[in-house]
């Protein structure tokens, strides 16, 4: 394989893993925009999605499409349940309280997963076989195409949801001004619930489509949360377009770094980027500094 096609190969695998990071970051942003909360449990939704779909397919022999839908519904319910249990009862919580609460939620979800699935690793077969497609000397797995297609679809559906539906518009209203939104009759608490459910659904989709490439176990959530958060920070917290661009950038950086430099430090790349962003430009590369000064988390 020539260096050129090797690099192309890395870029393609970077784009596919980067799409997942982008989905996790979108999940962060959905909740952040409606509530100002950084939800540390975001990674657990990814893990739950992947592990639920994988066990439905391999243990109960459910067809992949049904397993996909069932897993998304289950995780969405888990997201809503989490909001009712942990976020809803709080009155005027401080940021530190919210951070601890979502961390508690994340270990609780992880613990429940360990209780149900044990410490075993689960594998989801690829959606349409493993015969690679050759393209300019690089071999592309069919799953990569699925990942890109489904991520694209999720992004389109989300934008349509926020633009055209009443619930989507209401959530945007809450995001821009909570008080004003409640004055015009929007049920803010309900929108918070929606945002957790929606964000769980997006995370679950990410977990299901990546499961055929990355094995799933109960402990996988944290790393997805960290990298998704790095992406959200790089793109500017709350910025949807930024999250997608940053996801792809970080995915590609990581794949190139792992391929060309050292695979030991692969996971450290995203984290180094996170630290650099926090230290040098906390508003993210796509966020405006002015806007981020108004935000706090």
């Amino acid at each position: 394989m020539t260096l050129g096609s090797q690099i192309l190969q890395y870029i393609i695998s970077g784009i596919s893993i980067g799409s997942i990071y982008a989905l996790v970051a979108l999940g962060f942003n959905i909740i952040y925009n409606t509530t100002g909360i950084i939800n540390f449990a975001q990674g657990e939704f990814v893990m739950l999605g992947g592990i639920t779909a994988a066990s439905l397919v391999t243990i109960f022999h459910v067809p992949i499409l049904i397993a996909f839908l069932a897993a998304v519904i289950i995780v969405t319910a888990a997201g809503a349940f989490f909001e009712r249990l942990a976020i809803h009862p709080l009155k005027n919580p401080s940021v530190i309280t919210l951070i601890i609460i979502t961390i508690a939620g994340s270990i609780l979800l992880k613990g429940i997963a360990m209780f149900i699935w044990g410490k075993d690793t689960y594998f989801l077969p690829s959606f349409s076989g493993d015969r690679p497609i050759h393209f300019l000397g690089a071999a592309i797995l069919p799953q990569t195409v699925w990942i890109l297609g489904i991520t694209g679809l999720v992004v389109i559906l989300l934008s349509a949801f926020f633009k055209f539906t009443l619930a989507g518009k209401a959530m945007r209203a809450v995001a821009s001004n909570r008080m004003a939104a409640s004055l015009v009759g929007i049920n803010v608490k309900k929108m918070v619930l929606f945002s957790f459910a929606l964000s769980a659904a997006v995370g679950a989709v990410g977990g299901i489509i990546i499961a055929p490439i990355a094995l799933m176990d109960y402990d996988k959530g944290a790393i997805f949360a960290l990298k998704g958060f790095a992406v959200a920070a790089l793109g500017g917290i709350g910025n949807f377009g930024g999250a997608i661009a940053a996801g792809l950038i970080l995915g590609i950086l990581e794949a190139l770094g792992a391929g060309l430099i050292s695979s030991h430090y692969k996971d450290a790349i995203a984290l180094m980027v996170l630290l650099l962003v926090l230290f040098l430009k906390p508003s993210g590369i796509f966020g405006s500094a002015q806007e981020s000064r108004l935000k706090k988390f």
């Binding site: 613990g111 984290l271 988390f297």
Partner: protein, 318 residues
């Protein structure tokens, strides 16, 4: 207030002095040594959480830096343990300063994110830098701690050393709380703007407390290294950082005594109840969530409520 704290410290020191006479079982003494080591970290962390109002999700990494630096310096470079401990603490303080300086200047909780990312990077380095750290399988043969002519080679000696340092650490923490820094931080809790108009440099105090809490963790790490004489990365991951936060919150994050209590309960219970050890993640998650929702002031707050049922919730009571 400060006098009752000193009295409590004196009582604690007396009780501790007699514990080894009551407990002859080496296994229990070992558990108590770990409780002491963990307490040293959580006392520092509770200063950060309860007084500076910030949260660190990377204290396991500061603990790890203390442990690995001491271990590596003593075994590979034959640095005397006490010097290694001090060097490790100094280095950890510098690292904490480097993280705190940019992130604590910003409003909100950038520190939480930065420490989370930093903690994971340190964990990765412990695993990947095989020549220095032994990688995932770790490295051993760390010498015993030696101060002057005394070698701390028995559990009994180590018990007194660790708990002696815990008492010193508590004394120091109580003094910080009742010093200018502590008062400034308490003002900040009520209103950061008001504190600012009074000329309190809130950022500077937050950074100081963060660095101090990292040093507590580093010293605890060094003590850990010289006690177990073997290090592997598993001990220093994110889950331990979160367990430390859980201990502080469970005990009561507005009091250094809460940190001590939470650490003791959450370190001893899993040893006696097998089921907690098997489902530790589930149990800790549930504990943390329940405490935050139902009694955010933790065990100490709960005890306070039992004894003074009608008193107003007095935050930041020490």
């Amino acid at each position: 207030m400060i006098k009752s704290n000193y009295l409590a410290l004196l009582i604690l020191a007396l009780v501790l002095a007699f514990i080894p006479l009551a407990i002859s079982n080496v296994y229990y003494l070992g558990i108590l040594i770990f409780v002491g080591i963990n307490s040293l970290i959580t006392i520092g962390l509770s200063l950060l959480m309860g007084y500076a109002g910030q949260i660190s999700l990377g204290h396991a990494a500061f603990f790890g830096l203390g442990a690995y630096l001491s271990g590596v310096l003593s075994t590979r470079l034959a640095v005397p343990p006490v010097s290694a401990l001090l060097l490790a603490a100094l280095f950890t303080a510098l690292v904490a300063l480097l993280i705190g300086l940019p992130t604590l200047r910003l409003k909100g909780h950038y520190l939480a994110m930065a420490t989370l990312g930093f903690g994971q990077i340190v964990y990765i380095v412990f695993n990947a830098w095989v020549e220095m750290t032994g990688g995932p399988s770790g490295f051993g043969n760390i010498p015993r701690l030696r101060i002057g002519g005394v070698v701390f080679d028995t559990d009994l000696k180590y018990f007194y050393l660790v708990w002696g340092l815990v008492v010193v650490g508590l004394f120091f923490a109580v003094n910080i709380i009742h010093s200018r820094v502590g008062r400034a931080l308490r003002t900040m809790h009520t209103s950061e703007v008001a504190a600012g108009t009074l000329g309190i440099n809130t950022v500077r105090y937050k950074i100081q407390i963060f660095v101090i809490s990292a040093v507590y963790a580093s010293v605890a790490g060094s003590l850990y290294a010289y006690f177990v004489t073997f290090l592997s990365p598993g001990t220093f991951g994110i889950s331990f950082s979160i367990l430390l936060v859980t201990m502080v919150v469970f005990g009561g994050r507005f009091s250094v005594w809460g940190a001590l209590l939470g650490t003791a309960v959450l370190s001893i219970l899993p040893e006696s109840l097998r089921i907690i050890k098997d489902y530790d993640v589930l149990v800790y998650g549930a504990v943390l969530l329940l405490v935050m929702i139902f009694f955010p002031e933790g065990l100490v707050g709960l005890i306070g409520r039992v004894f003074r049922p009608r008193s107003l919730p007095e935050k930041l009571r020490t």
